[in-house]
C-alpha cells in the first residue's frame, strides 16, 4: 500500500492555479465582513486536492484573507515529492480544514477535530461549512423564479432523510409542499424520480453521493424536461445540462465562511453568506450556455 506524505507549502510559495472557469461578475458584491479580532489562534492547516480548481481557489482565498499562518497540504503532491518518506507532514496540533471530500477522507485517519468544508456527507462528523444555502432562502429564491411550482420533490438516500425533513418543514412555512422519496441506490432513485413526476412541479437535485451518478443526473434532467418539471441544483456545471436554478458559492465567500467558523469555535456551523444564483434564459438556450446570473446574499 503506498504511503503518502503531504508536502507543506509555505504561504508565499502558494500560487493558486488560474481558475478554469472565468470568474463571474459580481456587481453588487459587498466587501467581506471584517473578521472580528480575537485572541491569537493557532496556525491553520488546509488540506486540499489540486484536482479541484474551485477548492484551490478557496485555499488561496484563505491564505490571502487569514491573519494567521495558513499551511496548505496539497494531496496529490505528497506522493510525488516524498514518496519514500515515512514522515507525515500533518501536525495534529494545528487546526485542520478539509476542503472537499478527498481531504475529509484523508484527515479522518489522522484527527477527529477538523472543519469539513463543502462536504456532501449527510451527517458531518463535526464542525463544517454546509454546501447548501439556508432552506428558507432557497425556497424564497425558488418562489421568486417559479411562483407556480409549489410542489417540490427530492429523492435521497436514507442518510439524507434528516436534512430533507428540515427542508420539508421549512417548505411548509413558506407555503410550499416538499415531498421526498428514499431510494436505496441509483436504480431505485431512478424509479422514485419517475414516481414523483405526477406529484410535483419541480425537483431539488440534492447532491447525495449514495444515489447520484452521472447517468442518473442526465436521466433525471431529461425526464424532467419531458415532463415540464423545474429543477434546482448546487453545482455550476449543472446549468449547462439544463437545470433551471443553480446555487453556487464563490471561493472567496467559502473562504470567509471558513475563517468565520475558525474564529468562532463555539459555533456549531458556519454559513456561506452569499450564493450565486444561475438561471438559464430558457431551456432551449441551455446548449448555448446562455445564462443569467445573479448573486444573492443567502442571509438576506
Amino acid at each position: 500500500m503506498p504511503v503518502t506524505t503531504p508536502v507543506i507549502l509555505e504561504r508565499e510559495t502558494v500560487v493558486p492555479p488560474t481558475p478554469v472557469r472565468p470568474k463571474a461578475p459580481k456587481p453588487d458584491k459587498p466587501e467581506p465582513d471584517p473578521v472580528e479580532e480575537t485572541e491569537k489562534t493557532s496556525p491553520v492547516t488546509v488540506i486540499v486536492s489540486n484536482q479541484s480548481p474551485l477548492l484551490m481557489q478557496v485555499a488561496a482565498s484563505m491564505i490571502t484573507r487569514s491573519p494567521d499562518p495558513v499551511t496548505i497540504i496539497e494531496l496529490e503532491k505528497t506522493v510525488a515529492a516524498n514518496s519514500s518518506s515515512q514522515l507525515d507532514p500533518f501536525d495534529t496540533n494545528q487546526l485542520a480544514v478539509a476542503l472537499g471530500e478527498r481531504s475529509t477522507e484523508w484527515l479522518k485517519g489522522r484527527t477527529s477535530d477538523f472543519i469539513e468544508v463543502l462536504t456532501s456527507a449527510a451527517q458531518p462528523s463535526g464542525r463544517h461549512i454546509p454546501a447548501l444555502p439556508d432552506p428558507a432562502w432557497q425556497f424564497d429564491i425558488w418562489s421568486q423564479h417559479f411562483p407556480d411550482a409549489r410542489r417540490i420533490g427530492a429523492v435521497i438516500s436514507e442518510a439524507y432523510v434528516p436534512q430533507v425533513q428540515a427542508l420539508a418543514i421549512e417548505a411548509e412555512k413558506t407555503g410550499l409542499h416538499f415531498i421526498y422519496r428514499v431510494a436505496a441506490n441509483d436504480q431505485a432513485a431512478q424509479v422514485e424520480f419517475r414516481r414523483l413526476t405526477p406529484e410535483v412541479d419541480g425537483l431539488f437535485l440534492l447532491p447525495d453521493p449514495a444515489i447520484f451518478n452521472p447517468g442518473l443526473i442526465t436521466d433525471v434532467i431529461e425526464h424532467s424536461h419531458r415532463n415540464g418539471l423545474r429543477l434546482l441544483a448546487y453545482n455550476g456545471f449543472m446549468q449547462s445540462l439544463g437545470v433551471d436554478l443553480v446555487f453556487t458559492a464563490e471561493p472567496e465567500d467559502v473562504a470567509d465562511a471558513v475563517l468565520e467558523l475558525i474564529n468562532h469555535p463555539d459555533r456549531e456551523a458556519g454559513r456561506i453568506k452569499r450564493f450565486t444564483v444561475t438561471t438559464p434564459v430558457s431551456r432551449q438556450s441551455v446548449s448555448r450556455q446562455s445564462v443569467s446570473r445573479q448573486v444573492v446574499r443567502a442571509d438576506e
Partner: protein, 710 residues
C-alpha cells in the same frame, strides 16, 4: 430378338403442358422461397421482438427491483406484481442477493421453487453484465426461457468532491453488485404467434401462387391457342392430306407461321401434282404412261366393258431417220393430239412405247370400237403431218381387244391381246385394224403367260435362275479372258432358255428384277473367280426397261463396291435398238458407268438402226456384230463386205469388234483375216456353268507349278 440398342421414340411432348409445367415449377420454387422467407422472417421478427422486450424487461426490472435490496419496499412489490400482470409472457420474476440467495419472487406459477442461483448462471450473469453483452439466457427447458442479469448500483466515489465538480466527468463513481434478477419467459406464446402468423402468411402466399398458376395457365393456353390451332392442319399435312388450310391468326407471329404453312402446303401440293404428273404421264405427249394407264384400268375393275385399242405407228423409223429423234418426238406429239381429238371425253389414252399408244374406250360395243379405230387409222393416213419442212403420212396399225363383263384377264393381259392384234394388223399389211379374237389357243397362251408370271416370280424368290458363261476369245492371241453371262432357268434337271420366258417377263414387267438378279449374281461370282483370274471380264446383257431406270448406275456401283470388284471387269451389252430408242436416257447412264470404269458393248449391231451417227456418239468400246452376218460369212461375199465395213468403221471410231455365232474353224479363220478382234460362238465354246471355274482351276495349277518350280 429385338435389338437391345434400339431406342423406342417417346411420344412428343406438349408445348403448352411444358410451359405450364415450367410455370408451375417456377411458381412452386418462388412460393417455397417465399414461404421459407415468411417463416424465417417471422421467426426472426418474433424472436427479435421477444429479445427487445426481454432486454427492456430486464432493464426495467433492474430498476424496479433495486429497492428490494435495502428495504422491504411495498411499492416495489406492487410494481413488480403489476409488471407481471401486464406481460403475459412473463412467468416469474426472481431476485437474488449478491451471493445468489433468494430475495424475492413474483410468479404466476403455483408452487414455483425458488432455489438459490447456481454458481454457473451467477458467474455468467456477472460476466455478461460487466462486458455489456446483454442478459444471460437459458433455453434448455424450452419453451421456458430463463433470462438473468446482474444488478449493479452506481454511486459517487467517496473521494468525489461533488460541489467542486465542474463537469459530469469530475464525478467519479463506483459500482457495487446488488444482486441478480431472473425472469422466466413462456416462449410457447411466441412460437404460437409465430406459427399463427406464418400459417396465415403461408396460406396467403400459397393462395397467391395458386391464383398466379391458374391465371398463368389460362394465359398460356390463351396465348398458345393460335399455335395449338396449327396442330390439326399440320397433322393432316404430315399424313399426306395436302388440301389443308391454316386459318390466319390475329397474332402476327402466328400469322407468319400460318402463311408459311399454307404456302408450304400449296408448294407441296403443286410439287405433288407435278410429281404425280411426271410419274403418270408421258412428258413428250402429255398422255398417260403405261403404269398409270394400267393402274386406271385396274381401278375400273372387271365390271367394266369396252374396248382396248393398241396403236403402233407404221414406218415411224423413217420419220426418225429423216427428222432425227427430236423431230420424231414432235411428230409423236402431233399424233397424240390427233388421238385426243379422235376420242371421247372419258376415254383413256396412253403412250406405252416409242411409237405405241393404247386407248381404252369404256362402254363401247364391238362395232363402235371398230368405227373409232378406223377413224384413227383414217385420220392419220389422210391428213399428213408436217415438221421442219417435211410432210409425212404416218399410218398406223391398230389392234382391238374387246373387254367383256366378268372377263378373266388382267389389264396387262388385255393390252397384250390388243398388242397381238396390232402385230397381226401389221402382218396383214399395215394401215388397218385387227380385232383380237379370243380362241382356245389364245386362251391357253394367256393362261400359259399367267403361269409364267407365277413361275418367274417363284424363280426370283427361290433363286432358280442360274448364269452360264460363254467364252469370248481374243482372235489375235487366242486368249480367253472374256465371258458373256447368259441366264437360264433351272427346272429340275432341265434348263429353260430365255427365249421361253423373257417375253412373258417383259409383259409382266419382271425384266428389271431379272436384270438386277443377273447383275448381282454375275458380280458376286466374278468376285470369287478374280482371285485366280484377275484379268477376267464378264459381259452382262441389259434390257431397255432396266437400262433407263434412274437408279440403275447407282445399283451397279453399289454391287461392285459390295463385292470389291473393279468396274472395268464388267462389260454391259445393250442392243443397238435399246441404245438408240432411249438415246437421251441411255447416254448419261452409260457415261456415269464408263466414268467409273465400266465398259459397254453394242449388241446385235447391224440388224437394227445401224446408225453410224448414234454409234459415233455412244461411249461404247465394243461392237458385237450380229450373227446374221457371221453365220454364213464364209459363203456370202455380201456378208463379208458388210462385216469388213463394220470392222473398218469400228477401227476408225476406236472401237473393238466381236463376232457372234462363230460356228466353225473356217469362219474363225475368216474373221481373223478380216480383222475382227474377238470371236464368240459354239466353235469357241458353248455357254456353260463350268467354263470359268475350270479356267480358275487351271490357273491355280499353273500358279502351283510355277511356285513349285520357283
Amino acid at each position: 430378338m429385338s435389338n437391345l440398342f434400339e431406342v423406342t421414340p417417346s411420344p412428343p411432348r406438349s408445348l403448352v403442358r411444358d410451359m405450364l409445367l415450367v410455370q408451375l415449377v417456377f411458381a412452386a420454387a418462388v412460393g417455397l422461397i417465399a414461404l421459407a422467407s415468411v417463416w424465417g422472417i417471422s421467426k426472426w421478427v418474433v424472436r427479435d421482438n421477444a429479445e427487445r422486450w426481454s432486454s427492456r424487461w430486464m432493464a426495467e426490472l433492474t430498476s424496479l427491483g433495486a429497492g428490494l435490496y435495502l428495504q422491504d419496499d411495498a411499492t416495489t412489490v406492487i410494481a413488480l406484481r403489476g409488471y407481471l400482470d401486464r406481460y403475459e409472457e412473463l412467468l416469474y420474476i426472481r431476485y437474488y442477493d449478491p451471493s445468489g440467495q433468494p430475495v424475492y419472487v413474483e410468479s404466476r406459477l403455483e408452487d414455483l421453487p425458488f432455489p438459490p442461483l447456481g454458481v454457473r448462471p451467477l458467474k455468467d450473469m456477472e460476466t455478461l453484465s460487466k462486458s455489456g453483452e446483454g442478459a444471460w439466457r437459458d433455453e434448455r427447458q424450452s419453451p421456458l426461457v430463463r433470462m438473468g442479469q446482474a444488478l449493479y448500483t452506481e454511486s459517487l466515489s467517496r473521494k468525489t468532491d461533488i460541489y467542486a465538480a465542474q463537469s459530469l466527468d469530475d464525478l467519479k463513481t463506483r459500482k457495487r453488485l446488488a444482486g441478480y434478477v431472473e425472469i422466466g419467459l413462456d416462449y410457447s406464446r411466441y412460437n404460437a404467434d409465430l406459427a399463427k402468423g406464418a400459417m396465415v402468411g403461408s396460406a396467403a402466399i400459397i393462395a397467391a401462387f395458386l391464383l398466379l398458376a391458374l391465371f398463368g395457365g389460362a394465359a398460356i393456353r390463351r396465348g398458345l391457342a393460335p399455335l395449338s390451332a396449327l396442330e390439326t392442319p399440320l397433322k393432316k399435312l404430315a399424313q399426306g392430306e395436302l388440301d389443308v388450310h391454316v386459318p390466319v391468326s390475329t397474332h402476327h407471329e402466328i400469322e407468319t407461321i400460318a402463311e408459311a404453312i399454307n404456302a408450304a402446303a400449296t408448294a407441296i401440293r403443286d410439287r405433288d401434282q407435278h410429281l404425280r404428273k411426271l410419274a403418270s404421264y408421258d412428258q413428250l405427249t402429255g398422255l398417260a404412261n403405261r403404269r398409270y394407264f394400267l393402274e386406271r384400268l385396274e381401278q375400273l375393275g372387271s365390271q367394266n366393258t369396252g374396248a382396248m385399242l393398241f396403236i403402233d405407228l407404221d414406218q415411224f423409223k423413217y420419220v426418225n431417220d429423216t427428222l432425227g429423234h427430236r423431230g420424231g418426238d414432235l411428230i409423236l406429239s402431233q399424233v397424240a393430239e390427233r388421238l385426243r381429238n379422235a376420242t371421247r371425253p372419258g376415254d383413256l389414252i396412253a403412250r406405252v412405247g416409242g411409237d405405241e399408244f393404247v386407248i381404252f374406250l369404256p362402254n363401247v360395243e364391238r362395232r363402235r370400237a371398230q368405227q373409232l379405230g378406223q377413224q384413227v387409222v383414217n385420220d392419220l393416213k389422210e391428213y399428213p403431218l408436217s415438221q421442219d419442212g417435211h410432210t409425212f403420212n404416218v399410218g398406223c396399225s391398230i389392234g382391238i381387244a374387246m373387254i367383256e363383263r366378268n372377263n378373266p384377264f388382267t389389264s396387262t393381259e388385255i393390252v397384250s391381246q390388243a398388242d397381238l392384234a396390232c402385230r397381226q394388223a401389221k402382218i396383214d399389211g399395215r394401215n388397218r385394224l385387227c380385232i383380237y379374237e379370243l380362241i382356245d389357243d389364245d386362251l391357253t397362251q394367256v393362261q400359259n403367260d399367267l403361269q409364267w408370271q407365277q413361275r418367274l416370280k417363284t424363280a426370283l424368290r427361290s433363286n432358280h435362275f442360274e448364269l452360264h458363261y460363254q467364252p469370248i476369245q481374243h482372235v489375235a492371241t487366242g486368249v480367253t479372258q472374256h465371258f458373256e453371262a447368259l441366264i437360264r432357268l433351272r427346272d429340275g434337271d432341265r434348263l429353260i432358255f430365255p427365249d421361253a420366258f423373257l417375253s412373258a417377263a417383259r409383259r409382266f414387267a419382271l425384266m428389271t428384277e431379272i436384270d438386277q438378279w443377273v447383275i448381282a449374281t454375275a458380280i458376286a461370282e466374278l468376285a470369287v473367280w478374280r482371285r485366280d483370274l484377275p484379268d477376267l471380264k464378264i459381259g452382262i446383257n441389259l434390257t431397255g426397261s432396266t437400262f433407263i431406270e434412274s437408279g440403275f448406275s447407282d445399283f451397279v456401283l453399289r454391287e461392285l463396291d459390295k463385292h470389291g470388284v473393279p468396274a472395268d471387269s464388267i462389260i454391259f451389252e445393250i442392243t443397238e435398238q435399246v441404245a438408240i430408242s432411249s438415246f437421251s436416257d441411255a447416254v448419261p447412264q452409260i457415261k456415269a458407268l464408263v466414268d467409273q470404269g465400266c465398259e459397254f458393248a453394242v449388241d446385235d449391231f447391224g440388224t437394227g438402226y445401224s446408225s453410224l451417227s448414234y454409234l459415233k456418239r455412244l461411249p461404247v468400246r465394243y461392237i458385237k456384230i450380229d450373227g446374221v452376218f457371221i453365220r454364213k460369212l464364209v459363203e456370202s461375199e455380201v456378208d463379208q463386205t458388210i462385216v469388213k465395213a463394220i470392222v473398218d468403221i469400228a477401227r476408225i471410231m476406236g472401237k473393238e469388234t466381236i463376232a457372234e455365232f462363230v460356228g466353225d474353224e473356217a469362219t474363225a479363220e475368216l474373221i481373223k483375216r478380216i480383222g475382227i478382234d474377238y470371236a464368240q460362238g459354239f466353235h469357241i465354246g458353248k455357254p456353260a456353268r463350268d467354263h470359268v471355274p475350270l479356267a480358275c482351276q487351271a490357273a491355280r495349277s499353273v500358279h502351283a507349278a510355277r511356285t513349285a518350280q520357283a
